[in-house]
């Protein structure tokens, strides 16, 4: 690695678009996982594809590690910079290149904001379906890197289901195209591999996304329950009845109260759990589905069911859910947002276990999550200024993720692994599987220069973590003995 000559070359290429001073670099020290910070060696803000390729060439020749970054809204530290690496922001590659109505796709640069795509095609009665909660800010390139989901992915799929083409570059400067406006290419489908690859394999230069017709009609329903189990059973009953709602979200008592105090959405404060269910389709379809969901909710013991059919009322019902994270954030100086998935059938049991662990660690938890697809977001409340508290939070969090793996789920549903979940990855994968991941990365990036140290833990790290568990006299899934 030769930083000095690389700096000179980058500076002559980028001029003021290369940031080297500490003050200028400060906004890039962290992504959405603000607990983890690092000052990057330098930040590059190229404005077009050609410049990106020239940057790759410089980094390749001088063996400078590269950390790609979109809008920096990621929640797992995937864009955490490196002290001796270049932070490559793709935010300025933000042009919508083509809206191809005939083929029902849009071709966009990676820095285009998620919501900007839907806004650009709304007048044609279309939208881009994946809607991560950060959609106002997050970029499509980052969505590809993380395989972003969102409230509506239960029905409309994740990023991987809505990307038809990718143009990407590997560090050696080779630009490749996979797919395009046709729905599927023949042969190897590297689109799925790149979705969720967290910048370890290539730099996304262009994304072709599928556009979906806007539904003609919508309804939002709220069901209030006296127990989490009843709400969980309702979710299973709705899905088993053959209905796939556009969204199906659950909140527990602490989250309900926090949201109610914050935005006054009209949620029932006496409920132990509430479900929000969005239905969409033709007016006839929504009407029929409403009756079915109403029946499912009531038969599992909902004591109150509200329906919002006009946009204002719908927005009000969603307001509490959408503001849930900041609302919970008001309850404590800090909160730590977890992101695990579990089979829906284990919902009640897992929530009960989290509740017990919450008592054990003496750390309150609020639960807000995508119930329809079993994606939990327990929010652990804490105060980072209390010595030892962050460590306790991390220990609690990793037990929650181990529990997710044990019941057949995954350590990350939609936020990615980044640097945050490297430890829990050792729980989910064997050493042979992790080595397979590393060999796959090496096929794209033989020198290990693309976002090194993220997403896939080294075997040494897992062995070390395992050693720590043994040292404290506990098994890998040590929490299980307790229940």
């Amino acid at each position: 690695m030769s930083l000095e000559p690389a700096r000179a070359e980058l500076l002559s290429l980028l001029g003021p678009d290369l940031i080297l001073d500490s003050a200028g670099k400060r906004p890039y020290e962290t992504d959405g996982l603000t607990a983890i910070r690092e000052e990057p060696w330098a930040v590059a803000l190229p404005r077009n594809r050609e410049t990106v390729l020239q940057i790759l060439d410089i980094c390749h020749r001088h063996q400078i590690p590269l950390v790609p970054r979109g809008a920096g809204t990621g929640l797992s530290g995937g864009a955490r910079p490196m002290r001796e690496g270049l932070l490559l922001s793709l935010a300025r590659l933000n042009r919508i290149l083509e809206i191809d109505l005939e083929n029902g796709v849009a071709r966009v640069e990676p820095g285009v904001r998620n919501l900007a795509i839907s806004e650009a095609v709304a007048k044609h009665g279309l939208f881009y379906a994946p809607d991560p909660s950060s959609q106002i800010a997050c970029s499509i390139g980052g969505n590809v890197a993380e395989n972003a989901g969102g409230v509506h992915c239960l029905k409309y799929g994740l990023t991987v289901h809505n990307v038809t083409g990718l143009v990407y570059a590997t560090l050696d400067g080779t630009v490749r195209t996979i797919g395009g406006s046709s729905v599927d290419p023949f042969g190897f489908d590297l689109r799925a591999l790149l979705c969720g690859s967290e910048g370890l394999l290539g730099i996304v230069l262009e994304v072709t996304v599928k556009l979906t017709p806007l539904p003609a009609s919508k309804a939002v329903m709220l069901g209030a329950f006296h127990s989490l189990a009843a709400a969980g059973n309702t979710v299973a009953r709705i899905i088993s009845s053959g209905l796939i709602p556009a969204g199906l979200e659950m909140m527990d008592k602490r989250a309900i109260h926090a949201a109610e105090d914050f935005v006054h959405a009209g949620y029932p404060r006496d409920a132990a759990a509430l479900l929000l269910c969005e239905l969409d389709g033709t007016p006839e379809e929504v009407e029929a589905d409403r009756e079915r969901v109403d029946a499912c909710m009531r038969s599992e013991g909902a004591y109150r069911v509200d329906v919002a059919t006009d946009p204002a009322a719908q927005q009000r019902l969603w307001a509490g859910r959408k503001a849930a994270f900041p609302a919970v954030g008001r309850l404590a100086p800090d909160y730590y947002c977890m992101d695990g998935t579990i089979p829906r059938s284990r919902l009640a049991e897992v929530l009960e276990t989290i509740d017990r662990l919450s008592g054990e660690y003496n750390l309150p938890v609020a639960n807000v999550f995508h119930a329809g697809d079993g994606n939990l977001h327990p929010l652990i409340l804490y105060d980072a200024n209390v010595p030892g508290e962050l460590e306790r939070v991390e220990a609690f969090g990793s037990r929650i993720l181990s529990l997710c793996v044990e019941v057949g789920g995954a350590v990350s549903g939609e936020h990615g692994v980044g640097v945050e979940k490297l430890g829990p990855m050792c729980d989910q994968f064997t050493s042979a599987e992790l080595e397979q991941f590393h060999r796959l990365k090496a096929a794209f990036d033989p020198d290990g220069m693309m976002n090194p140290g993220k997403a896939i833990p080294t075997l040494a790290r897992c062995v070390e973590a395992g050693g720590m568990h043994v040292h404290s006299g506990e098994e890998k899934f040590r929490h299980l003995e307790r229940f």
Binding site: L101, E102, N103, G104, H124, G125, L126, N147, G149, L154, G157, H161, R176, S181, S182, V183, D184, P185, F186, G187, F188, D189, A192, L193, G196, L211, P213, A216, A236, I239, L243, I244, G281, E284, E285, A288, T341, I342, P343, R344, S345, H370, G409, A410, V411, S412, G413, H415, V417, K421, F429, A432, E433, Q436, F437, L440, K441, A442, A443, F444
Partner: protein
């Protein structure tokens, strides 16, 4: 139910150590489309079958790779569910593993997603005889690279599938098929127009002077769309025949399958048009899109991108599996 995992692992270990090659075989139902594989030995997946878990409320089924698709479909239908991508099941002989490895989706692809889309997890063995699992049984899972979906369409070049978990979908309440007279050019224009409307379509195809479409959903929704689109109701068996290449027009006159931007203007070479315009069965190759001769795997054409060779190397360094695929210097 039959578990051949140990035998499969033994075969791969032996091939690895003796530097011989293996063909991964089911019932051979896709050979007419993708060609024959000829390794030194054969891993017979038809003796590795059975549904392992099926939880209708979770919308997930997991089965061994050699399970006939027909068995999977029968189990799903009993619970009012189905595979949304409706993969071809040639004379009922296709296996689940074969379908996923080939990565071929049926006519509902543009509307209900691809077979790859529905893959949630796989159990597999790589060329080092290592047994591994990727993905799982949950819909949202971003832990590790998406190897499960990478294997869909890789035709066994990276490893042997032992089991597959798929997301399943509810069977629509009503399914009705329609057609009307149309030229190919008019047909494609209508296909593109209708695809951008919120209609309950699960198929849009053209063959032999007719545009065909299929509506699926609740009876009220289907009735409303039917009124809007008109057309003559027809026997819905057009769709499985199209899917399984059993339509008379899909015989010897078809030499290529082509994936293409769906609005691409058709010409005389287009014998049959599926996927709302995106898949063409043709008498001649096409400059646009990706043309693949019928009877030949897209993984046997050259030149091969060196990246794909390195991915092959990462999974199967000894080139044990399906050796005709991904050859650096394959004959064109």
């Amino acid at each position: 139910m039959a578990d051949a995992t140990e035998r499969i692992l033994d075969q791969i270990t032996l091939a690895r150590d003796s530097r011989t090659t293996l063909t991964i075989a089911g019932h051979g139902s896709k050979a007419p489309l993708l060609g024959q594989r000829r390794g030194d030995g054969v891993i017979d997946l038809t003796r590795h079958h059975g549904i392992l878990t099926y939880h209708p409320a979770e919308l997930v089924i997991t089965a061994r790779a050699g399970t006939p698709l027909a068995d999977v479909n029968a189990a799903l239908v009993e619970q009012g569910q189905c595979l949304a991508a409706d993969p071809p099941c040639y004379q009922g002989r296709g296996t689940l593993g074969g379908a996923v490895a080939a990565g071929i989706s049926g006519p509902s692809r543009p509307f209900r997603g691809s077979l790859r889309d529905s893959v949630l997890g796989v159990g597999m063995v790589n060329g080092l005889a290592e047994r591994m699992r990727f993905g799982g049984e949950v819909f949202k899972n971003v832990a590790g690279f998406d190897v499960a979906r990478l294997l869909s369409g890789s035709e066994g070049a990276l490893g042997v599938l032992l089991s597959v978990s798929l997301r399943v979908a509810p069977v629509p309440q009503t399914i009705v098929a329609f057609c009307r007279e149309s030229s190919a050019a008019e047909g494609v224009i209508l296909m593109r127009k209708w695809t951008l409307e919120p209609l309950p379509l699960t198929g849009l195809a053209w063959s032999q002077g007719k545009l065909h479409w299929r509506l699926a959903g609740t009876s009220t929704v289907v009735a409303a769309a039917r009124k809007r689109l008109g057309g003559d109701e027809e026997d819905p068996s057009y769709w499985p025949k199209l899917r399984d290449r059993e339509l008379p027009c899909l015989g010897s006159g078809v030499s290529y399958r082509v994936v293409v931007a769906p609005a691409t203007h058709p010409d005389d070479g287009d014998v049959c048009i599926d996927w709302a315009g995106g898949l063409r069965w043709r008498s001649a190759a096409l400059a646009q899109g990706q043309s693949c001769p019928v009877g030949q795997s897209p993984l046997t054409t050259s030149p091969v991108d060196p990246l794909l060779l390195r991915i092959k190397q990462a999974f199967d360094p000894g080139r044990i599996f399906n050796p005709e695929l991904l050859r650096a210097n394959a004959a064109a």
